[in-house]
């Protein structure tokens, strides 16, 4: 019936005693798109890295076209017809397209590189993936989507049988995604199998034939996509029913705390108005480039507005820097904790008290005992897993790092907490902890503004949802009017009244 191209049987892998893959089985059929679904930490990348020869498995069997193979290096994987398109593309920007396609296997004659021949052959290959640009051109001038096409072309040049794509749509526009899916379908028609890693469940339904779910390093299930649905996949992935994933508390919503009126920032935001109330979680949705983070940065004094007004408790205020935002009892859990949230090389204690260290000063001196006590209190309260508050933050897992950022702000006792992608890249358990904490905070009468690209998250947690597109407010929906399709439309610019 179906011809199996690749089979991974009973794969085990552990790193210094921690088992990260536990008896995983996985098969890929000829010409199928096979999705792999799993939370961060589920073992997806480790499995793929074993396939690519980057890691070696502890035990298990790998069959390619029915024959057992032992892949020791990425080069060997490539020669066997297994290629990988990484999420982070790393082309050599200043080399030409042709040179990138043939990187590592340049066409030579008498030891001299045959540029003309390489350009000719490269052109043939990139045309197969729908790219028509001169192959003499350097990579630097290409868009991300085009670079990805070159990467795919490169994989094709190795005569790939199995192509692994790791989050290929992460930085593509909708039109580019359509084009990519077109290329994928063309390849599968020619008998190439694609392993498609994503955590966007919607994409699985658009492109995949089957999907395998991993959780905590274990194989959970493989489903025919036509015989499953979204909620089922989510529950397989997180191991709980969907209602349990977003523990939404019922809280009495009070008076308006934050009002933003006609806020504009040149080229980024135009005429944004909204309000947020006490005890409320206001969700903010929108695509990349919709201006969500920019809006929050402006409210927090990191950007200068060209016009507009911000009122807190009815009082007009002028926020010119994060310091004034802090004085007005605001907090900002930023989008990228490593870039704008944490001092990774400092201990937890210094990160947790980064904003509030003045509280612990006695006669010019920081009272380290009090500081440590306060840090430990929040480590306990947020369930941060660490040996001590003196450990360096960089040694923590993503979820624990995120909790440190939140602890830092909670110590300042803010009224308004802006959370920009607070659960990005963290494991299921930590996500749940953060959702529970959000519930606790609004119960205490705080206001939370939640920005998230994960639709289920904003739908699950928000009381109201504001949708932005192109720097404008497309509409604000109440919880009882949440409809995923409507929100998607609004994200693409449909105005909702």
């Amino acid at each position: 019936m179906y011809k199996t191209v690749l089979e991974m049987r009973n794969i085990w892998k552990s790193f210094s005693g921690n088992v990260v893959l536990r008896d995983v089985n996985f098969t890929v059929r000829l010409g199928e798109v096979h999705g792999i679904l799993g939370e961060n930490g589920a073992g997806k990348s480790t499995l793929m890295k074993i396939l690519m020869g980057i890691y070696s498995k502890d035990s298990g069997t790998l069959l390619l076209d029915g024959e057992e193979v032992d892949i020791q290096s990425p080069k060997q994987a490539l020669e066997l017809g297994i290629s990988m398109i990484h999420q982070e593309l790393n082309p050599v920007l200043d080399l030409s397209i042709a040179e990138n396609v043939f990187l590592g296997k340049e066409i030579t004659k008498y030891g001299l590189v045959q540029y003309k021949e390489m350009q000719r052959q490269a052109l043939e290959i990139i045309e197969r993936v729908g790219l028509s640009v001169p192959t003499k051109q350097t990579m630097r001038g290409l868009s991300i989507a085009q670079m990805q096409q070159v990467e795919i072309a490169k994989a094709l040049s190795w005569n790939a049988k199995v192509m692994i794509m790791d989050e290929p749509t992460a930085s593509l526009t909708e039109r580019e995604i359509d084009a990519l899916f077109h290329i994928i379908r063309q390849m599968t028609e020619k008998g190439i199998s694609v392993i498609y890693i994503t955590h966007k469940i919607e994409e699985l339904f658009r492109i995949c034939n089957r999907v395998t779910v991993l959780r905590n390093g274990e194989y959970i299930a493989t489903e025919e996509i036509s015989e499953t649905n979204r909620d089922h996949l989510i529950s397989l992935m997180v191991g709980r029913e969907i209602g349990e994933i977003y523990p939404k508390e019922d809280v009495d919503i009070g008076e308006v705390v934050l009002e933003v009126e006609n806020l504009s920032v040149d080229n980024v935001l135009s005429d944004v108005s909204f309000y947020a109330r006490k005890g409320e979680i206001l969700g903010v949705a929108g695509l990349v480039g919709a201006g969500r983070s920019e809006l929050m940065e402006t409210i927090f004094g990191l950007r200068t507005p060209s016009s507009g007004q911000i009122r807190i408790h009815g009082e007009p205020i002028s926020i010119t820097s994060p310091r004034t935002a802090l004085k007005n009892k605001m907090a900002f859990v930023t989008e990228d904790r490593k870039v704008t949230g944490l001092n990774l090389i400092a201990p937890l204690r210094e990160n947790i008290t980064l904003v509030t260290v003045r509280q612990f000063v006695e006669n010019l001196r920081i009272n380290k005992k009090k500081e440590t006590d306060a840090s430990n209190l929040y480590i306990d309260r947020l369930g941060i897993k660490t040996d001590s508050c003196e450990s360096q933050v960089k040694d923590l897992s993503g979820g624990n790092q995120q909790k440190v950022v939140i602890a830092k702000w909670l110590l300042a006792d803010p009224d308004i907490i802006i959370m920009d992608e607070p659960t990005r890249g963290i494991d299921v358990g930590a996500k749940r902890d953060i959702y529970l904490l959000m519930g606790e905070l609004v119960k205490q009468g705080k206001t939370i503004i939640l920005i998230s690209s994960e639709m289920p998250e904003v739908l699950g947690m928000s009381d109201r949802l504001m949708v932005l597109s192109g720097g404008k407010v497309m509409g604000v929906l109440d919880r009882n009017k949440f409809e995923q399709q409507k929100i998607m439309d609004m994200q693409f610019g449909a105005v909702y009244h």
Partner: protein, 325 residues
């Protein structure tokens, strides 16, 4: 993906940032023991005081340099600042001028001014520290030549000579006392005050510090200002110690100061380093130089040794960093 794995390694990684300073402390003690065995004169009180005397100027520069390095920069101009402030002090303390206030205050302020200029250019105008301080290095050295007319200045007043040369309890030169006081004061600032904490925060991640409401530019600027101030103090003391000043004085001192910090565990990326590290680093350099002088090792070999030690230490640092990722 690797979270479990990462957590498993936490134990081993813990506290590695302090490790280097401690390792260097053992290196220092080891050097001291070996040199004492090689030459019985080495560990005599008189020589130990000598070592501290010879550490003081570089040590004071290293305390300032540590600040600049902590906030993620470094200062190539301190050596020239030593020259300039030394000349200013000498001009005001020679030819029968007995007053101390003027030479001390003017030379120290000159250093501070150079530091502020560096700091403003780096922090507010966003010019890379290397470029700014290379520029001021040349400008300040030029000023030192102009002020001195290119000549060394001798004949500093006796009272001025006493600033560094005077003895506490008839034994310990004031110069050593100043160094100890400055190093401890800087230790207190870095370790115990909000200001010190902010230097670490800014050097560790300036953007995170900014979002957390810290005035990043001011912290950066002031760190360079402190570095300049230390250059001024070092120049002022150098003139007293040698009872003379030359426009060339201090040439290359910035490199010794940077080396002291790097040996003492300060990361050139900023945000990491312990206050005692800069003292240990400075002591290692001068113990090495003093010990090898006593053993009669030619200075050319000393240069090679110094360079090799710096590279080895940075290598250890880089390797331990690589293991972490």
């Amino acid at each position: 993906m690797m979270s479990m794995n990462e957590m498993g390694q936490n134990q081993a990684r813990k506290g590695r940032s302090n490790l280097q300073a401690l390792v260097m402390l053992f290196v220092l003690i080891g050097m001291f023991i070996v040199l004492s065995l090689l030459s019985p004169m080495f560990s005599r009180v008189g020589n130990v005081i000598n070592i501290f005397k010879q550490t003081a100027i570089n040590g004071i520069l290293a305390t300032g340099m540590a600040c600049a390095i902590l906030v993620g920069g470094f200062d190539m101009s301190v050596g020239s600042t030593v020259g300039l402030s030394g000349i200013i002090a000498a001009l005001m303390a020679t030819g029968g001028q007995e007053g101390l206030f003027l030479p001390v205050v003017c030379s120290v302020l000159a250093g501070l001014l150079v530091g502020v200029i560096n700091g403003v250019a780096v922090a507010y105008m966003k010019v890379p520290a290397f470029v700014v301080t290379l520029g001021t290095q040349s400008i300040v050295r030029g000023l030192a030549y102009i002020l001195s007319g290119g000549r060394p200045i001798f004949g500093v007043s006796e009272s001025y000579e006493k600033i560094a040369g005077g003895l506490l309890f008839g034994k310990i030169p004031y110069l050593v006392i100043y160094y100890i006081v400055i190093a401890l004061l800087m230790g207190f600032i870095l370790q115990c005050t909000v200001y010190g904490r902010r230097m670490y925060a800014v050097g560790g991640n300036a953007e995170a510090a900014r979002v957390s409401g810290i005035n990043v530019e001011f912290i950066q600027m002031s760190a360079f200002a402190i570095c300049g101030l230390m250059g001024g103090i070092a120049g002022m003391l150098s003139t007293s110690r040698t009872v003379s000043a030359a426009p060339l004085t201090g040439e290359g001192y910035e490199l010794d100061a940077i080396a002291s910090c790097v040996i003492g565990g300060f990361s050139m990326d900023g945000g990491a380093g312990k206050w005692y590290g800069m003292i240990i680093g400075a002591l290692i350099l001068s113990v090495m130089s003093n010990g090898l002088d006593i053993l009669g090792v030619a200075s050319y070999y000393q240069r090679i040794l110094k360079g090799a030690i710096i590279i080895i230490i940075v290598l250890i640092d880089v390797r331990s960093k690589r293991k972490r990722t």
